[in-house]
Amino acid sequence: MTDEHWESTLRAGLATLALKPTPDPWHSPDDLTSEPPPAPLSPQGNRGDRSTFRALATAAVVLVIVVVSVALLRRDGASEGRPADNRVETGTTVPAPAPAGSVDAFGVHMDVTTETVSNQLVVIARMSPEPAVTAVATTPVAWVERERRGEWIPTHIRFNAFSARNQVICGFPGIRSVGFGSGVSRPFQTGFSLVNHSVSGEPCTSEDFVEQLRADEAHLLGTLPYGGAYRLCRFVAPKSSVLHKDESQSVPTTVAAPALDTKLCGRFEVTGPEPAVTEIDSGCPFPEKVDDPPLPVSGPPAQTGTADSGFIHRSDVAPMTVPYGKPAGVRSIVVWSRTCERIGYMLDNIGFVNADRYHAPNFDPYLETTRSQVDLGDELRWDATQARQVAAAGALDGHGDGHALGMVRAENGAVLELVEGAGFGLLPEQVGHFVGTPQPGEDGNSILVLGSRTDLDLRNLPEAAILTVTVDGTARRFKVVKPAWAPEVNDTAYLGDHWDRRITLLQADTTNRPIAVQAVLVDG
C-alpha cells in the first residue's frame, strides 16, 4: 500500500464515518443561553498557551473545590437554598405481591420507595392498581451539582418493570425547558416516544412534548407502557443553566398520572450514592427461575439444523437456559416486536451506548416490526436473569397484542432462550418469520437469517464476494456463497448487517422465509 493509497483510504474512511451519526435535534440557542449557573466550572479545554503543568494544577484545584462542595452538600442540604419540605421521608413499603400466575399478577399492590439520598434527591412512590399516583421527587439542583462534578449519571433510577400497561410518570417541577440532542436527553426521546402512545393517546411530535415540558406545571418525563428498564437520569440538557434558573422551584411533587390501565410488577432500583432498591416479586409473567415451566409456545415442531425450514423453537433452546441469577456470559439481547421503534428506544435507554436497532417495515406484511439488539458487551455485565427479563419486557408488547419475541444470546452467539410475548402467543408462522436457522460456518460462526432489511442486493454482488465482518472487534472477511436452495427466495435476498459473532443475512421479500447462505472464512 503506497503512502498515497493508505492516506486516501484513511481520508475516505474518515469522511464516511463522519457521516455516520445523525445528530439528534439540537438545542435551540434559547436553551443554551439560559441564565448561567452561579458557579460554573471553568472550561477545561486546553488553550493553546496552557501548559500541562497548569492544566494539572487547575484540575487539582477543581478537585479540591469539588470535595469541599460535596462535604458541604452532605452536611447541610438546607444551605443550598432548597425549601425544607424538599426532603422526602425515608421509608420503604413493599406489600406482599400478588399471587404469581393469577390474572392479578399484573396489578401489583405496592407502595414503593421513598428515599432520601444524601439529602439530594429522590424518588418514587408507586401505585397500582388504582388510578395511578406516581410521585417522583427530586432536587434538580443536586443533579446539576453532580453533573457538574462530572458524574455521568448523578442518580440512577432504574425500572425493571414488566407489564402490559406499566407506566411511570415523573414530575420535575421547575424544569422549564429541555433540550434534545445528546445522550443526556435520550430519556426524553423515550419520553416523548412513549408519551405519544400511552398518555395522550394521540400521536404527538417531539415539539409537542417540549411544549409540555416547558409548561410551569409538573412535567411528564417518561412512561413505560410496556415495561422494561428505563434510565431516567441524565436528562439535564442544557444541564446546569436551566436547572439552576429554577432552583427555587425544585420541590418534590406528586403527579397524578392519567387513569390508564396502569399495572405493574417488577423491580425498582434507585442507584446513587446511597442506593435504594425495592424488589417486587409480583409474579411477572415470564420465567424467573430455571425450573419454571417454559412458556407455552405454539409453533411448528423443532426443525433447527435443517437448511430450509428450521424455526428455532423454545424446546430447542431450553436446555441452554442459563441458571437463574448466575452470570452466564450473556452477550446480547435481541428483541423483536412489531411495536415499531419504541422497544428500540427502550433498549436504547437502559444503559447501552451501542444498542442497535432498526426498522423492518416490510417484515410483516401487515405490521411494522422492529428488531432491537442490545449488545451487552462488558459494560454492564448483566447476568442471564436480567438479560432475560429485559428480553421478556421487550417481548411484552405494549399493545397487548403480542407477536413479539425476545431472545437471549450467549457470548458465543448461541441462543440461550427465547421469550415470547407472554400471554399473547405467537402464531406458528410468525415464529418462523422472526428467527431463521443458524447455519454454522466453517469457522464455527453461524449465520442467522432474519427478517427484512434492505441493504445490499446479493444479486449485485460479484460472485464469491468478500464480506468484511467485525467479529469481536476484529474485521474478518467472509466469502459469501449464494445459496443453491430456494432460489425463489434468494432472488430477493439482501445481505447486510453484521452481528457480533454472526453474519446476519436478511431477506426483504414479504415471505420472510429463511435463507440458507454459506459463509466461508477466507482468512484470518
Partner: protein, 197 residues
C-alpha cells in the same frame, strides 16, 4: 437562521460587573452572541469531529453541548472572537479525551458501523455501498487501535486538515508530542489497514 445578535444577546457593553472581560467593548471581546453564532455555524462540524475522536455519537454530542454551555457561561473569557471556535473545539476535544480515557476500560475496543452508516454517502450503487462500508469498517477498526491522543491527532490532521501547530494549539499538546502521536498513530493505522485489506 437568526444570529446571536438577533437573538438579543448582550454585547461587551452590557457584560455584568462581575464579568472578567477587561477588554474595551470595541476591541473585539467575545459576546454570547458570538458564541451562539459559532454554535449555529459549527455545532455539527464539531459533533462529527467529536464522533471521529471518540466513536460514540451521544458522547460527542454531549461534549459539544457541554463545551458550548461552558463557554456561554463566561464568553468574555475569550478575548479574540476569531478564537471562539478553536476555543470551543479545544474544550470538546479535552472533554472527549478525558471521557474516552476514563471509559476506555468499559468500552468495547471497536464499534461496528451500523446499517445507517453510509447511506448518505453511498448512493444507490450496491457495489459502491459495499466498498464504502468495507472501507468504513476498516478505518473504524483501525482507529480503535489508537490511543485517544493518537486518534485525536489523526482526526484533526486527516479529517480537519489542521497543521501540526494547529493541532498542538487545539489539543494543548506540545508540537513535538503532536508529531509523535501522529507518527505512531499513522504507523499503527497503516499497519492495520494493510493487514485488513
Amino acid at each position: 437562521m437568526p444570529t446571536g445578535e438577533e437573538l438579543g444577546e448582550r454585547s461587551c457593553d452590557d457584560v455584568g460587573p462581575d464579568a472578567t472581560c477587561a477588554v474595551p467593548p470595541d476591541s473585539g471581546c467575545v459576546t454570547r452572541g458570538d458564541v451562539i453564532d459559532v454554535y449555529l455555524r459549527e455545532r455539527e462540524s464539531l459533533f462529527r469531529m467529536g464522533y471521529l475522536v471518540c466513536g460514540v455519537d451521544a458522547q460527542a454530542q454531549d461534549a459539544v453541548h457541554e463545551a458550548f454551555t461552558r463557554v456561554l457561561a463566561r464568553p468574555e473569557m475569550i478575548r479574540d472572537p476569531s478564537k471562539a471556535e478553536p476555543y470551543v473545539r479545544s474544550i470538546v476535544l479535552n472533554l472527549l479525551r478525558t471521557e474516552t480515557a476514563r471509559d476506555r476500560s468499559r468500552r468495547s475496543p471497536s464499534r461496528e458501523p451500523d446499517q445507517n452508516t453510509v447511506d448518505a454517502a453511498t448512493g444507490s450503487d450496491p457495489a459502491d455501498a459495499f466498498e464504502t462500508r468495507r472501507r468504513a469498517v476498516l478505518v473504524e477498526n483501525a482507529l480503535s487501535r489508537l490511543t485517544v491522543n493518537q486518534r485525536t491527532c489523526v482526526v484533526l490532521r486527516y479529517w480537519m486538515d489542521l497543521s501540526d501547530a494547529a493541532i498542538a494549539e487545539a489539543t494543548g499538546m506540545a508540537l513535538g508530542t503532536v508529531k509523535t502521536h501522529l507518527r505512531r498513530g499513522c504507523r499503527t493505522l497503516r499497519g492495520e489497514l494493510e493487514r485488513e485489506r
